[in-house]
Every structure is written in structure tokens, then in C-alpha cells.
Symmetry: D2
Subunit: 343 residues, 4 copies
């Protein structure tokens, strides 16, 4: 059994990670830390875990964490980087579900996250944990930067087309819609039920922190500069991201449906739907799957890709478990093979 | 592996049953019938099952069903009774998730369901499948009447008090609130999103079909006539039932918290919360658990019991699987031990 | 034109009051105060008011408030009482939408609201602003305590039966369900969208602040001690309260439908539905109406009353405007006669 | 008073039209027809109208309709065209809220709406009722084609840029999200609450009926062929459309904010927000306003326009009333000047 520690864990990513680990056949939760909730039983905060998780939150204790095989950081941005060096030195693998190790350029990180980086020297070691691109590098990795939720849905949608050089990387549009759990479990007015329900809006059109992350990774794939317009929206649902992607085909003869099917044929968590389909977010609710459909409206040269994930699973905790599975050489789908909950 | 057939299965109970059976360690789906969808792949109708269920719906075929060990009927009321005799004669166990075998008095059934009963002689054999009361009779039973969703939540809430004779059975009130999936997957105006969302209402105050079912079973438990006022409400959520129960304590010295804890200590799917708690429906979403809290406001002689279930799981498909497990001597929790999905 | 001031006004009651006053034919908004938002334009906080309200929030300034004819206090509990004496001395009428003047016994107030009362001597002057009971006393009143949202829905439902002495006042049950806006526009975890959506729960079963308010007023009506069990619930909708009331008829021959119809025939904002009806909360959304239906299930001696209001209108801002209209001798329905918004 | 008739009126557009007309100072509802509901009181179907509308639905009677000054057709597509000629001959103005007169080319209409057109000769007379473009032609018009909901939001967003020739009309993208009431009040599975709630999906990516309508009108404005990719989505809310529009600036020096502000300065129902804003759909709920914000992310040459309306008001019934007001020379805002309902 792999000994697991969690830093943080009082947010939605935390409870989702606990839900998945609670029934993971090869993982055993050893410690979960929270300054604010130290001493409280986890199942008192999250009653869905009653009978599954007996642990209480504890104060962050380096020794306890050092005794784990892997530590997940499910904290706000800027916390994992303060733990990273010690954990790695103790031989513990670290999977950061926040953003501390996602951008390889510390200057860029500091610009977008507005704080100095605590260990810029570790950035080059960190592996960006999108298995569909980096599976080999994730195997055995010590430090994994779990991708953001929007970046996961958007990259998986553009990936096959950029890899094959079929589209103009300078004119990418990602119109993404997220459920409200993506904003986290913080007391804030703008995510109150009475603010968000029966309502829809865009936000951060001027610049969202996931924009540089997506650009960085798509440029790796494409090998060319990427011009991306990214508009996130808040939609009145709890879970789910729906990314609607627009790009311009440079090779009009390409069979885009075949390109997607071939690219993802062997992927356990990417499901390409039949031509003409429209995936809905509930079809992946509580599951680690990304479902994708690809369209060419009126047979023109604009390609529309529809990509859905559960932001808390494939967009956060589930992908983190997938990364753990790969890093430790387990079955990649271990603990992740329950069907989505519908309706 | 137990060979499983499903009659019906295009509704919400059906898809939930499929979701649970798809990962059940000892069940194998052999056949699922639907006249309307015969020939369609199940996963085309319910894309959450892509990769889990390869079967297509087929025309109802007595021979195929007769080759199963157990058949679930997930149809509208009045269908299971037309299949029952043949299935039993073929040595197949039948678990009816609809209402055909719930009322032991065929006259009463015909009054509330407005059709003649096709096999009234089988009613006496049918076991009412609430394991917390009838576990022993369910073992080995050939014909199981799976309880209704409201009746499950309400009976589990009144049960300990009635068994101990602590309350007046003549003055029971059950104010119950259901998610909209309880109304099924039928095209009807009153369950459209734009009718139900941001809205709340009572319905069937004059008389709901679950009323005689609840009364029948509570009278068995109590041994005395029951006076029950039952008001169901529709609440804008997909899954979940919250029953708020009111009754009058006849023994003012009773320790009602202890009575509940003791009654359900050994039950795998009933969870009594600490005194002063308020269970929420999401704490059981997609799980087979019933969570219960009990209160005596102002220390008076009115007892308030709060009982929550997922109407599609403990209120339908999950309890049906639990009944299958018991009937076949499997581990009672087999296929039912994933934590609830929260948020 | 009546010169209107508002203390507070950054919450949901505030924005609703502004929406109503913006088109009130005889009211003119002169000042609205908020320490936190002083200097901000109202329409920047609440963009639905763009083009309707040009004012900005200002620091609380006794002189400006003293120049008004009426001041509404739309603040948290405990604020209005600190302004009351000065306003009354300046000849300004005060309508407190919070709870400061609702309980006539200062001891009781201090017990439930956990702070000393700033002006207990004014409690006897304050008129409880439920027009259906106190219309005459509201005319010309200087100090009006606007009722709570639950108390409004519940009192209007019990009123006709208690006035006529038809039910046992010692056995009243009020099972009430509220939309989330009733919890206010405060940054709190438990009212986040991702906590409340697709979820249902009871709260404060042990004791809610509206309980003594309801008891006090029902005892006035009944002339006898009242035994009330009150269970509030949170339902995933923005607006609306649905109160389901249970009581025991002492006069079995009573025609309860006629009693309700007669009692409310002349009331502009109480609408008694036909026998057998089920009012839904959306039928009063954004309107000042209370709709009521009354049932006797199975013709027994339990009466079930269904009473719905919009918690922000008849349960708060709308009733406050109604009280202003009455106090100043205006048409009672002025500014309040738009139909509910459905769907 | 203008005598008003309504054909149809049992759907959401109908009830919204009734809500607006009920308090319109210069309109008087004379007749409302519905074959299915003939004889039923309107207020029985839509209880929000109790006390406001006393009429009952009647069988379609040409004589009664001929006695009106204006008739609104709030029916499915294909009905208004069967009434048009007789009404016009009787001197009645017709405002069709459905699509019968929106496309000027009958061949195109027949292709997209899959039925022959009953009066193609009237198409040239019909005025497309978007007042912000066609106000002069609407004055005195006999036959008005009320625009679709998506087309209204999308055209108002592209209009200023196309009129000024600032963008490439060949590369327009409209990613639009609609509340579920846009699908109408028909009994269908795909708009059930349990299908749509907590879910998000695109639909009709291959081709939606509003696409040719938008293209036709934008080509009029632009004077050049338009290349439009239009992707509609269903979002779990009752009312509201949010259109997110993407286009490429050809004049990089343009001050797009100023262009929008100037274009709509005198428009009573188009509100341009300050630079950097994000309108939310609830800010126009139940009101006839379109709110717009314009962005240039990273200062690049992609312009992002955010445009929100209430699909039932500015996208249907409200715009129809606005058209009536203009056609009859009334104050354009008559009956349409209540603030949006928020929250």
C-alpha cells in the first residue's frame, strides 16, 4: 500500500481526493493537514466520508509528511512550494494540485500569481502532469505539477490538431464554461448561491491565470508561438467544464474525426464521440473521463471542438490520482474506474 | 457471477441500476429489454456508461429473461406483474422496483393504481424489500417488492420509535421533499426545467400512492392502526429525498437518540448522526446510505426526525441491488460501497 | 413625493427595496447609507438598477436621514435600534426590516439575539407591521417592525383558523422551506452555490429566532398559549418561502375553505386558491402576494395549509413598502402591483 | 387603448407577453386563442396572472381577431403565416414572435423550417423588428417579424463594429448560451429538469435555424458576405442569453469602447457597460434591456463582445411590445420600464 499524505484538504479538491482515495485499492491515507481544522474529524466536515475516513485533520508536521510515499498538496497557490524541498529531500513524491510548479518560467509565475517563488530551481524538475502528453516523464517523477482544470479540457481538445499541424496556432479561441466548484470552498460573495444561480457570466476576459499555462503547453506541442483568446465563464452548476474551442484548419482535406480517434484510441480517460455528437458535462460527472466531439460547421475551415471534464476529477483530484498511479507504476486506472453519475 | 436481466431500463432507475451493476463484483448483465429502444446501444442513450456497458436494448424475450438468475423490473407500474409468473416458474428471482407487489391487499392496490392486478395470488409470496425490517425473509426470496423512495426514507425514520412503542401511531406527520428525478424520465410539462427550477411546491396533498404503502408497513411494525398525514413536495434538485417527520412522544423519559443509535448500530446502510445534527441530501448523493438525525425541539414531546436518502439509490436501484445481494447470500454491501459524491 | 432614506441597503433586502422604490409613483429616494460602500454608485453594485438609481452610497449622516419622511433600515439586526430615537425625534418614521422591534419583551429579544437592546422603551410603541392584522395601528405609526419572512408566511397560514378558534393552538407544526436569498448577501461557506445547489437540508431545528416572533403574534391572535414546532429548511432556489402547516381541527364540521376565503376576501395581497390547489413559489416571485391553499387529507381532522411568499418581497422589502403606503395614507398597493415573474 | 389579440399564448413567450401587457398603460387584452386550452382561464394555467388577467382562452375566431388593432402570434413556427393575410386585410397589424416572416427568401425559409411558406408574397412587406436597426421602418408597419432570441443578442453585439467596417465580416464567431425557457414549454425529455440541471452542453453545432437569420441581417448591415460560426449551448438557468462574440479587428487603432458607447447612446434598451466589465444575465432578468461589454484581451486584434438579454423579454415578448409601441407611435418604453429582478 502506498502511504499517502495530504496538505490542505478542506476544499473541494480535498474532499474529492479523499473520496477517490477512500476506495483506492493500493493507497492508504496516513495524514491530512489543515491549520484551520486541526483536531476536527474529516467526516465531520464532509459527512459523505462517514464510515470511510476515520482520520482527523492535524497540524502540518514535517515528520509525519516525511513518512509518506507521496504527498498531495490540495492547498491554495503558494503553499506547496514551501514544502517541496523538504519533502523531496525526504524521498517523498509531491503532487501539487495547485499552480506552484505549472509554469516553467519563475518570472512568468510571479507576474501572474503575484508572489515570489520559493524554489525556482525546482521548476525545471517538475513534470507537468498531463498524462496524455507526459506519461513517460511522469513515471518515476518526484515532483508533479497537476494541470489546471481549464487547461486540461482545453489542451486535450487542441492537442491532436496541433500535433499534426493541421490548424493555425496563431488563431485559437477557447470559450470555456465552468461549474462553481471550480472557484473553491472559500467564503466569498460572488460565489454565493443567490449570486450565481439562474445567472451566467464571463469573467477575467482581460486575463486569467490559466492563460499562460495553456499557452506554454500548447507551444510545446505545436513548436510554434500560440495566439490564444481564452474566455472563462461561470455557469450555475456544481461540477463540470465545457470547453468550446474554435480554430482554423490549414489543411482543408484533413479528416479531423479520424485524427482525434486515432490520437486517443489508447487513452483510458479520453473518449472521442461519434461525429456530430455533443458531449454533456454530466456524462463525466464524478469520473476521470474527458469526452470530446469535433465538428466542422457547414463543412468550412473552422473546426469546433467540444471538450468536457469534471473539474474536480480530471481537472484536479482524479488526474492527481492518475498521476500517482503512473508515477508509482500502478495500473493507471486504479481507483478511477467507476462510471459517471447520471443524472 | 450472477446473471442479471433488466426489464425496462430506459428511465432514471434503469440507468442507476446499470451504473451500480457495471462495477458490481459478482453480477453480470445479460439482457436489458425496452420495446421503445430495442436495438439501440445503452451507452448511446446514457453516455456515462460508455466503456462500461456494451449491450444494446432488446425486445422483451421470455427465453432470454428465463436464462437469468435474477431479473430487475425497472418499468412503470403494471408491467412486472405481467412477467412475474413465468419468471418464477423458470426459477428466476424477480425484484420489482415499481409498485406491483408492494401492497398485500389487491383491492387496495387496484384502488390506488387504477388497474386490475394480474397475479393477486403472488402477493402473499412477495417480500417487501426493506432489509432493515425484512432481511431474513429476503434471504432466498423469489419475489421481492422493492420499496418506494418516500416509503424508504419515512419508514426508516419512524421505525425505531414505533418498534419501541414510544410514540402515538395515530398522529404521524411526514413532510417529504423530493428531487425531480423521482418523477422519472417521462416527457411531461410539469417536470420541465423551466417549470421546476427556482420553484418549490407541494403536490398530491389529497392522497399519494405511497401513503397506503407506508401505512401498511408501519402498521406491521407498530401492531396498531396508524394515522399518517403525508405531504410530498417537489424541490429543485436532481436527486435526494429529505423526510421531516413529526410525532408525539408518549414516553417523555425516552432517550430517543439512544434508541436510534442502538436500532441501527449493525445496519450497513443506516447512519445515525450525533444529536443536534442536520443531514443534507448531498451527503448521500449516489450512495445507498440513509442518514438520520433526531431532535426534540425545546425538549418538548414532539419528536422531529430528519431522514435523507438518494431516491435513485437507497430509494430505488441501490436498495434493489442490496436486496439481490441478500437474496443470493452475497456480501450485503457488494457493489454499494463507494462514498457519496459531495459536492 | 415622500422622501425616503435607507440605512444599509447593500444586501438582498436593500436591492429589492431599491427595485420597488425606483418605480414607486409617490416615493423619492433621497439617501442610502453604507459604511462599507460609501462613495460607490448603487448601480455599480447592482447593475439591474442602471438607469433607475443614480445615487451613491453615503456614510451614515444623521442630518441627511433626519431630512427624510421615512427611513427604512435594511441592515443586520442591532443597527436600527441605534438610530431609532434620533429619527423619531426628528419626526421621521422608521420601518425596520430587521428584527430590532419585533419582540415586545426586551428580555426575550436579548435572549434570542444575544445583545442588549438599545432602546427597550420604544418597544411598546413599535407596531408589528403585518397589515393583515395590524392595518389600523400601522396607519400613522412612527415605528414599524417589519415581520420576518418565515413569520409572514406562517402567520398568514394559521391566522384564519386561530381567529375562529377552530384548531388546537397547542399543537401547531410549521415545516417551512426557504430560498437561499433569505440567508442574506454575506460571504459564508454554507450558502455558497456549491454547498447549497442540488442539496436540501433542515437547520436550526433546536431553535430559530423566528420562533418566538411567531409564537408572540399567534398568541395575540389566539388569546391562548401556543405550542409551535417550527422546522426551517434551505432549498436550492434563490427566492421563495413555502410553509407547510399542520394543525388539528377541534371543530370537525368547520368549512375551512370558506373560512380562508372570507378572511382574506378584501386583502389585496393574500390570495386564497381553490380547494385542492397547490401554490408554487414562482407564482409569487418578485411580487408582494401570499398565495394560500388549505387541505384536509382523507377528510380527517388534520388541516394542512400551504402558504407561499417571495421572502424578499412580502417577506421583507415589499411588505415594508406596503407598510409605508399604509402609514402615509397612500394607496396600499402603490408600487406593488406588477404580476409575479413566471417562469 | 390599443386592442390586443394573442394567437397561441400557452407557452413561455405567451405568459411573458401577458405579464407585460397586463400592466401596459395603453394596451387592452381583448382575445387570446388556444385550441388546446380553449375555455380554460388564463390565470388557471399561469397563476402569477391571478388578479391581472380575467380572460379565458378561446378557439381561434377570425372575427374576434379582426376586431383588434394588433395581434401577436406567440405560436410555434408556421402558424402565423396562416393568419397573416386575413388579419392584414382586416386592417389589423400582426407581430409574429415566431419565425414565419424573418427570412426574406422563401426558399431559405423552407429549407430551414421544412415546410412550404403560406404567403411568400408577404415576406417583402414584413419588417424585421429589431428597433435598433429598423426603427423607422417599424413605425406604421403592418407586419412585423419579431427577431429570434439568439439573433437579438448576437446582432446587437456585432452591429457597431460591422457598421463602422472595423472587423472582418468573414470571421465571426458567436458562442451563445441560453437558459432552458428558450426551448419552450413543450413536453420533451431533453429539457426535463433532471436532464438539464447541473449539466451543460452545446447543441446544433452543425446548423441552427437562427444561423441564416443572423447572417441575413448582418449582411444587410455589413454590405458584404458574412462568415459566421454559431454555437448555441444550453445552460441550467430559466431565463437569459449570454452571447460571447469573437471577431478580428481590421483597424487596430479603433477605439471600440467609444464606438459602442456612441452607437447606443440614444437607445433606450441597449446599455453599454464601462470598459473591463462583464455583464451577467440576471442584470437583465425580466427586463427588456440588452447589456453589452467589449474587450480586447491582451490588447490584440481579437475583439470579444459580451452581450446579455432575457430571452423571453428582449429576445421575445418584450421586444414585441417595443415593436408595438413603435408601430403605434406610443412612447417606446411604455410598459417596459421596470428594473430587472436581481437576485
Amino acid at each position: 500500500m502506498i502511504k499517502v499524505g495530504i496538505i490542505g484538504g478542506t476544499g473541494y479538491t480535498g474532499v474529492e481526493l479523499l473520496r477517490l482515495l477512500a476506495v483506492h485499492p493500493q493507497a492508504e491515507l496516513k495524514v491530512i493537514t489543515s491549520r484551520a481544522e486541526a483536531g476536527s474529524k474529516i467526516a465531520d466536515l464532509f459527512p459523505n466520508l462517514r464510515g470511510f475516513v476515520e482520520l482527523a485533520f492535524s497540524e502540518p508536521d514535517p515528520k509525519l509528511l516525511a513518512g509518506c510515499d507521496v504527498v498531495f498538496s490540495a492547498t491554495p497557490n503558494g503553499v506547496a512550494m514551501t514544502h517541496a524541498r523538504k519533502l523531496l529531500e525526504a524521498g517523498v513524491r509531491l503532487i501539487d494540485i495547485a499552480a506552484d510548479f505549472r509554469l516553467s518560467d519563475p518570472k512568468l509565475w510571479e507576474k501572474w500569481y503575484r508572489m515570489p517563488h520559493a524554489c525556482p530551481d525546482l521548476l525545471s524538475e517538475a513534470v507537468y502532469g498531463l498524462p496524455e502528453i507526459n506519461r513517460k516523464r511522469i513515471r518515476g517523477a518526484r515532483l508533479i505539477a497537476n494541470p489546471g482544470c481549464y487547461p486540461t479540457a482545453i489542451q486535450l481538445g487542441f492537442l491532436p490538431l496541433l500535433e499534426q499541424g493541421l490548424i493555425d496556432p496563431g488563431q485559437l479561441i477557447a470559450d470555456a464554461k465552468s461549474g462553481v466548484s471550480g472557484a473553491g470552498r472559500k467564503a466569498e460573495v460572488h460565489t454565493l448561491f443567490a449570486e450565481v444561480s439562474d445567472n451566467f457570466k464571463a469573467y477575467a476576459v482581460g486575463g486569467h491565470r490559466h492563460w499562460p499555462e495553456i499557452c506554454q503547453e500548447l507551444e510545446c506541442v505545436s513548436g510554434r508561438p500560440v495566439g490564444l483568446t481564452f474566455v472563462p465563464h461561470l455557469t450555475p452548476m456544481v461540477r463540470g467544464i465545457h470547453a468550446t474551442l474554435y480554430c482554423r484548419l490549414t489543411d482543408r482535406g484533413a479528416d479531423v474525426q479520424a485524427v482525434f480517434e486515432e490520437r486517443y484510441r489508447a487513452e483510458p480517460f479520453v473518449d472521442v464521440l461519434a461525429a456530430g455528437s455533443h458531449p454533456d458535462t454530466r456524462s463525466v460527472r464524478a469520473s476521470n473521463v474527458c469526452r470530446i466531439a469535433v465538428h466542422r460547421p457547414q463543412g468550412g475551415d473552422t473546426v469546433v471542438v467540444l471538450s468536457v471534464i469534471d473539474n474536480l476529477v480530471k481537472g484536479a483530484a482524479g488526474q492527481a490520482v492518475q498521476n500517482m498511479n503512473i508515477a508509482f507504476g500502478l495500473e493507471e486506472t486504479a481507483g478511477l474506474n467507476a462510471p459517471a453519475v447520471l443524472p
